[in-house]
Symmetry: C2
Subunit: 305 residues, 2 copies
């Protein structure tokens, strides 16, 4: 079997929120039976240029995502991603998918899946903390799974928040406006954090009963977006409990979070009432990348793969 190669421009043209959400659902369902192996964090000869290796297997998928973070990139995004799939029958190379653009969809899709699974059905106000490239993906993906009718933007810089609100409206057609943190957090039915913070972004007391929070920023030791006081009154969910407690948001939690995959398969409870505060932490796992690559390959070949 000749390996298939999907270039960055090909995968960027193929990906959309629907494909990414379906791939995310498949990945989270597969966490029950699949395997995720230890994450490697490496670097190039320039130590700040880092890469991560996330590998796993489930069903007929086996492979690794090489994620890179080159902070000095100017012409290209700082993050990129290459997904390598092995042939489950032989171990030989099956496909290589460049997925820098698609990776942002994949990450947003995980948070959207959590919203679809855990947020109140009548969630209408989406508040986002963060005004970067990923934050826009999050808003677009989340607004597809709930009847969101306005977006509130919390950013450290007023001009960035204003520009981001305009981008949100352009991308989704939804009204969007910058707000201060206490008001934005209090008004949220769904709160998404997409920052690189290393300390809490808001006060736990601002969070209203019934809020759902999806936090995607924390993916390494020392990173943190949420106030620890929130954990006492919230139901905690994540992608991979061990990883979330090691390098994700819940490295700061004392209780063990529930795997979203277990909620999807009915093995664990999700939201318990309209007053429940639910928190989902996404630290990212290889099966998301493998199912994304397989979905892109399938779409590339007209669904025949």
């Amino acid at each position: 079997m000749t390996p298939v190669f999907l270039s960055e421009s090909e995968s960027a043209a193929l990906v959309d929120d629907e494909l990414a959400l379906a791939a995310a659902r498949e990945a989270f369902l597969a966490t029950a039976t699949g395997s995720s192996f230890p994450v490697v964090i490496g670097h190039s000869s320039v130590p700040q240029n880092r890469f991560t290796l996330k590998s796993g297997s489930a069903g007929d998928l086996v492979g690794v995502k090489v994620g890179s973070f080159w902070p000095g990139n100017t012409a290209l995004p700082r993050h990129s991603s290459t997904i390598v799939l092995l042939d489950p029958a032989t171990g030989r190379l099956r496909a290589v998918v460049e997925a820098a653009a698609a990776n942002a969809y994949r990450t947003a899709a995980a948070d959207a899946l959590a919203v679809e699974t855990l947020a109140r059905k009548d969630s209408r106000t989406l508040t986002v903390i963060g005004t970067g490239h990923q934050a826009l993906h999050e808003v677009r993906a989340v607004s597809r799974v709930r009847p969101i009718d306005r977006v509130l933007v919390i950013g450290r810089r007023a001009d960035a928040a204003l520009a981001f609100a305009a981008d949100v409206t352009a991308a989704t057609g939804l009204p969007a406006e910058p707000v201060d943190a206490p008001a934005g957090v209090a008004a949220a039915d769904v709160l998404v954090t997409a920052t690189t913070a290393r300390e809490p972004l808001f006060d736990a007391r601002w969070v209203a009963p019934g809020t759902h929070i999806s936090a995607m920023g924390a993916d390494g030791p020392g990173k943190q977006e949420l106030p620890i006081a929130l954990y006492k009154r919230a139901s905690l969910f994540c992608d991979l409990p061990d990883q979330s407690r090691a390098i994700g948001e819940f490295q700061h939690a004392s209780s063990v979070p529930v795997a979203l995959g277990a909620v999807l398969t009915g093995k664990a409870a999700g939201r318990r009432s309209d007053d429940d505060v639910t928190v989902f932490d996404s630290s990212g796992f290889a099966l998301q990348d493998l199912t994304l690559a397989a979905a892109l390959l399938s779409r590339s070949s007209g669904g025949a793969q």
Copy 2:
């Protein structure tokens, strides 16, 4: 920059012992300044189908080798290898090199480099323990770096040893014959072990003064080819001391082996006398794969890369 893809048939046609030895030398020299990151051992949904991730960086090389071992393969070799290089300037994908055939050259080249660095200059008798595909690569690579004039073969099965000896003569032109283990070990100027043994292959007392031993088989917990008693009278060398002591032959040694790269750069002593017994353990490291891939890419593009 568009990524380059070298297929299995292309890399198999490009590789030879000379290219592999030069790449090995570059890799071992780079161990002093380069980085090797933790090795991941994963598996497909069929747990006996395993893969390893070895990643590293040095100079303008950064990437990962995905090695696979599918023990049920019949039409294809059980081992295969895919090397992924990132662009050091951007973190984007630079190249993918399928290297199943080339990987055997790479592994043999490390042992040949150790022979070239550590064995007596007048080494004439090469004894090999093991009669598999890799063992033939080892014999061919080692016989290029010393004036080997006969090859002795030790195998568990007499018919396999006889057939292997014929293969050696066909591949190298050297006379080759099966021998029993005590005679073969005692006669060796250079002894190469290429097995999947989990216990010593010979008695330390059979080893004559001045012998050099290159052991390539041990690459995981519990694997062992050499008798522990040998370590007391031998000078110990390896590729990566930490890895060799964790998963290589020297997981069974009490003293710390010397990195071959340190001998190559003159920072550590190699063989001290014609009576010294030198032992080199190869557990394999990513820089070997990265330099191999770069050499194949360079040859593929006529040296312009």
